[in-house]
């Protein structure tokens, strides 16, 4: 089984609130120097899902990590390799740096085609920067393979995979034949840490760098569908009225009275 895992490098989404600002003119997020760039957490879990499949099926599972991004995205691939991916592809081209979901999906789908027979594509449910959740499903549509989204568990079964997925009010289990694309949600659970042996080996694992020309992307595929016209941080103008008391208990009682007076208790 050959699995491609789509990963994206994003600014560490934890603790962003205190440090992030936006340059509304250039439509870019501004972060203090040194704010870490990480593999988007859902993509880490997609890689973890691939590694769990290998744990289940055995060494016959080959894992290729694929990213689209600038120079720095190489670090994300290195992390995937040190976690156990066998090789990696870095789609890297000035023409693709500001790709929208349409262009990104076409580039990633072309890379998967170029890799040859991929049985399973795994991706995070959304990237933790723009939170769109479009690219993975777009890749499935371009490749013409079935997709299952929001997976929290995956295992190999005869001729395909069985996927447990998260619903609004519960879970469902589905089976899908391969090739297929599955997007992974955080309910998959803890991911493993890089181990020393794999980290040592990672340095020697191959990383291919492919540009738009090598992927054979056509002009229409490089034509974005959308342009960002604004990026802003919404203003908060709520004033909090603090309810106090001699003890926390008294403050709780007073809160009830205040909510009652403000007619918000219904």
């Amino acid at each position: 089984m050959h699995i491609a895992v789509l990963i994206k490098q994003v600014p560490n989404p934890d603790a962003l609130a205190a440090v992030m600002s936006v340059d509304e003119a250039s439509l870019k997020v501004v972060l203090p120097p040194g704010h870490p760039q990480v593999v988007s957490p859902f993509d880490e879990q997609a890689l973890e899902a691939a590694l769990r499949l290998r744990d289940q099926v055995g060494a016959a599972v080959k894992i290729t990590a694929v990213t689209l991004g600038p120079d720095s995205a190489r670090t994300a691939l290195k992390q995937a390799l040190s976690l156990g991916a066998d090789d990696a592809v870095h789609i890297h081209d000035a023409a693709l740096l500001d790709a929208d979901s349409h262009v990104s999906a076409h580039a990633l789908a072309a890379a998967i085609r170029k890799l040859g027979t991929i049985d399973l594509v795994l991706a995070g449910r959304q990237a933790a920067d723009f939170d769109a959740g479009v690219v993975g499903l777009g890749v499935a549509e371009i490749l013409g393979v079935p997709s299952v989204s929001f997976a929290c568990g995956i295992e190999a079964v005869d001729g395909g995979v069985q996927v447990e997925r998260v619903l609004q009010d519960g879970f469902e289990t589905v089976q899908v034949p391969l090739p297929a694309l599955v997007t992974i949600s955080n309910e998959l659970g803890e991911v493993r840490k890089p181990n020393l042996r794999e980290t040592m080996r990672a340095a020697r694992k191959p990383v291919a760098a492919w540009g738009a020309a090598e992927l054979g992307l056509e002009a229409s595929q490089l034509q974005p569908r959308s342009r960002r016209t604004r990026l802003f941080i919404p203003q908060k103008n709520t004033q909090c009225e603090f309810i106090t008391g001699a003890t926390a208990f008294e403050a709780g009682e007073r809160l009830a009275q205040r909510l009652h007076d403000a007619r918000v208790l219904g």
């Binding site: 609004q168 589905v174 909090c240």
Partner: protein, 329 residues
């Protein structure tokens, strides 16, 4: 060009009833239609022998594209895609609107690529302006918002719940009905094995007027018992931040936020929740937010209208007891 002014809403009737999300989308769709001057269509996926189409006529819908199926509830989004695609081929929409739920979040992007259009997920607004469609959506975990402009469609937009009023019937409106070809289940590749619900029997979070939600500050599953006592007094539903779900203190379906539910109650009481952007993305549109937190610096107080700084173990039972007294008075 004329064809690219139409608006299409994807609706699903289970047991003969359309969900509130459909009526919210109709409000947005009617606003878009007023700008584009196109026709308003609804793709109606109907379960069984109910007649949802005639109910829609009163809402200013010009055409209902109807597909009937014995068992929609048991089918995955894959089954819906060819039906909605068939409706799009007839309706030639500029914009397709879907609710941003588990179904819409999968169906929307696939449909956009199938139609060679654009996709915008989790939108809070969609407007037609000078011949293009603009979508506004939260990003960066709810900390920022972006506006995207689409030059040519169709634009498939999934829209968050609770942001638009429910559409009201319009006198004198009429719609025509187009029957769509039935689905061919033999073409489906994703097969359902089983489905389990983990929702309790209390009020649904999506519909609740009052929600009491707990976070890591509850310090264990027992904390939810304290919240449930308060919820019982208020007739409230209980929700949570992501941490208690991850730690197994409560069912995952209680999660509110960017990757959980979007809720818009009149009153949202956040207990032991720090107020991360990821969480507020799911509850920031509540009418009144109340925060109970032991840390006076917690970010949640920037979103809250009322706050108490203190240990929830003291504050919440006192609040519950006093609410009961006020109700009896």
């Amino acid at each position: 060009m004329a064809a690219e002014k139409n608006i299409l809403v994807v609706a699903e009737a289970t047991l003969g009833k359309l969900p509130p999300a459909t009526y919210e989308l109709l409000t947005l769709a009617r606003r878009l239609k007023a700008t584009t001057g196109g026709a308003l269509g609804v793709v109606l996926l109907e379960e069984g022998d109910v007649d949802g189409a005639s109910a829609l006529a009163a809402y200013g819908v010009d055409v209902v594209y109807r597909a009937k199926c014995a068992d929609f509830a048991r089918l995955t989004s894959e089954a819906r895609l060819p039906i909605v695609q068939a409706a799009c081929e007839q309706a030639q929409p500029a914009v397709v609107l879907l609710p941003h739920g588990v179904l819409g979040a999968e169906l929307g992007p696939r449909l956009a690529f199938r139609l060679d259009g654009g996709a915008a997920t989790g939108c809070v607004d969609v407007v037609a302006q000078a011949g293009s469609i603009h979508c506004t959506r939260p990003c960066y975990g709810g900390l920022a918002r972006e506006e995207q402009r689409f030059e040519h469609g169709p634009v498939v937009a999934t829209v968050r719940a609770g942001l638009f009023e429910l559409a009201q019937p319009q006198p004198g409106s009429q719609s025509s009905i187009v029957e769509l070809p039935a689905l061919d289940p033999s073409e489906l590749r994703v097969a359902l094995v089983k489905r389990e619900s983990d929702a309790g029997d209390g009020p649904r979070l999506e519909d609740a007027k009052v929600i009491v939600a707990g976070g890591r500050g509850l310090e264990g599953p027992e904390g939810f018992k304290v919240l449930q006592d308060l919820a019982a007094e208020l007739g409230a539903a209980v929700g949570s931040s992501r941490v208690p779900c991850d730690l197994g203190w409560c069912p995952h379906s209680w999660q509110i936020g960017l990757t959980g539910k979007t809720v818009t109650p009149d009153l949202y009481i956040a207990v032991g929740i720090s107020g991360a952007g990821h969480h507020m993305a799911g509850c920031g549109n509540a009418k009144t937010i109340v925060a109970i937190n032991s840390d006076p610096e917690a970010a949640i107080f920037q979103d809250a209208r009322f706050g108490v700084v203190g240990d929830y173990r003291e504050v919440v039972p006192a609040l519950a007891a006093q609410v009961r007294k006020l109700k009896q008075a």
